[in-house]
């Protein structure tokens, strides 16, 4: 896995669930000015994360055999080791 740590820490479902919470809070009109700005900032980060996840499964179906995957992973590990 080559994803950054923060993306590993937050899955797509957790990010989208948090986004819905943020939108619900903002729509309620109960958030103060400071909270609104902080929620918008967090929301934009989550939107970018969700968009990146969707982009990763939207570029085009990649089919490969298990042997190819294993070979690719071994080649990657070898390159890293070298």
């Amino acid at each position: 896995m080559t994803e950054p740590e923060n993306k590993l820490a937050l899955s797509y479902e957790a990010a989208s669930a948090r986004l819905e919470e943020i939108i619900t809070r903002l729509d309620s009109g109960q958030a103060g000015l400071r909270e609104t700005l902080e929620l918008c900032k967090e929301g934009r980060m989550l939107v970018e994360l969700c968009a990146a996840e969707l982009e990763a499964v939207g570029r085009g179906l990649e089919e490969l055999r298990l042997e190819d995957l294993v070979a690719r992973l071994e080649a990657g590990a070898g390159a890293q080791g070298a």
Binding site: I22, R44, C50, E53, V57, E62, R65
Partner: protein, 441 residues
């Protein structure tokens, strides 16, 4: 009449006899097999197939199996219902080995030919009972739970699929993923999905996929078949492998009536490979993209609104000191006006009160002057009045005569008439009775 075959040369150096024409050898084999002793066998029926002319089945037990066949007429004559001779039924059959030698256009086949009337159902299959026992054992060991506790990602990046290379299940999985709008990385781990070699190969494929560490979820798919075809998915080692795998497994072995054991141990069991593929990607990717775009728009609206609100607040705050001073000035002016008005009112009231007091004093002074003028006159009148007071007369020796009722008696006649009178002197009164003659003046 087939053309006569030329006998080719044999293999160099081979000590084996021949070569012989295969048809003739097959005929010989058939004759050889048919000469074997006819026997009775018992075992479990699997893969029962009825064709118009013949009935085919496999007779199995834990050590081996034998393909069997009987004529359809003989089978129908037994009067067995489909449920009586279902897969897993224990039967005893009688007959002998047979071999169909085939031809240039048809395949050969070997079977144990069941003689007419030589099939007896002896009970339910032992394999089904074994399956039931194994299911209870795995359940008691808690092996149905671990897979279900694994978190299945809503949007897996890499999906592993274990299936037959040539089966229809492969296309169904792709169709299911397309329906979800998913275009990630798909790793195929092909393995046989039927026969006795299938289970170890499937287990190995699952372990290899999980070992890569790059697969988020695994689908095990097969296109369907009888329970006998799917029996490899009830293999104990395979089921234990699935139960303890660190990657969630979605099973789809396409059987509606009998549940295989992999259905029980897997994280999720689906009826079709298409459904399994859809379940592997719970999020509909196209709709999710629309949702994310909508989220971004709403966040943008809220952000702009918040900034506008902040700007308005700052503007209001910047105006506040001036407005405060102006308000205080207005309030002070108002207070000053009120003080002035109150002063004027007080002066006016005091003035009115002073005038009223002066008037009263003036009247008092006038009344005092009038009293000083009237005093001597009043004294004279008082003296005159005192001179006429009857009390003063009584003090000089006169008496006042009254009757009992208090009326003044002013004549002798009246006194006689009254009889009893009261004489009032200066100091006190005494009662008297009138008697005797008149003493007229």
């Amino acid at each position: 009449m087939p053309a006569p075959q030329l006998r080719p040369l044999g293999i160099d150096g081979s000590s084996l006899p021949g070569p012989y024409p295969v048809g003739r050898y097959a005929d010989g084999l058939r004759d050889f097999l048919r000469e074997r002793p006819r026997v009775q066998l018992f075992g479990e029926v699997w893969n029962l197939r009825l064709s118009r002319a013949k009935v085919y089945l496999e007779l199995r037990d834990s050590d081996g199996a034998l393909p069997c066949s009987m004529w359809r007429n003989d089978f129908d004559a037994l009067g067995l219902g489909e449920r009586t001779l279902a897969d897993g039924a224990q039967v005893v059959i009688g007959g002998g080995l047979d071999y169909y030698a085939g031809s240039r256009t048809s395949s050969p086949s070997f079977s144990f030919a069941i003689a007419a009337g030589a099939l007896r159902v002896a009970g339910e299959g032992d394999l089904l009972a074994q399956l039931d026992r194994l299911r209870k054992t795995l359940d008691a060991e808690g092996l149905f739970a671990p897979q279900k506790l694994l978190a299945r990602p809503a949007l897996p990046r890499t999906i592993g699929v274990v299936t037959g290379e040539s089966g229809k299940a492969r296309d169904d999985v792709l169709a299911g993923l397309r329906r979800r709008g998913w275009h990630g990385r798909l790793v195929w781990a092909f393995a046989p999905v039927q026969d006795r070699h299938a289970a170890p190969r499937i287990a190995a494929a699952l372990q290899d996929l999980a070992a890569t560490g790059a697969v988020d979820v695994i689908v095990v798919a097969r296109g369907g078949g009888s329970l006998a075809d799917l029996f490899c998915f009830c293999d104990e080692t395979l089921c234990r492998t699935v139960a303890l795998l660190g990657v969630p497994v979605i099973a789809s072995v396409g059987h509606h009536t009998d549940r295989t054991l992999i259905d029980d141990v897997a994280a999720l069991s689906c009826s079709t490979p298409t459904h399994a593929a859809e379940s592997a990607v719970p999020v509909h990717c196209l709709r999710a993209r629309e949702d994310v775009i909508a989220f971004a728009r709403r966040l943008s609206v809220h952000g702009r609104r918040a900034l506008l609100h902040r700007a308005q607040t700052l503007a209001r705050l910047s105006r506040a000191p001036g407005e405060h001073v102006a308000g205080e000035r207005r309030r002070l002016h108002q207070r000053l006006r009120e003080i002035r008005a109150a002063g004027r009112r007080r002066v006016h009231d005091e003035r009115a009160r002073g005038a009223s007091k002066a008037l009263v004093l003036e009247r008092k002074a006038r009344a005092a002057a009038l009293d000083a003028h009237r005093a001597p006159r009043l004294n004279a009148l008082a003296l005159a009045l005192a001179a006429h007071d009857p009390e003063r007369t009584l003090e000089r020796g006169y008496a006042l005569v009254t009757d009992r009722g208090g009326e003044v008696v002013t004549s002798a006649a009246a006194a006689r008439e009254a009889g009893d009178v009261r004489l009032r002197f200066g100091d006190a009164a005494v009662d008297a009775t009138i008697g005797g003659d008149d003493d007229r003046a």
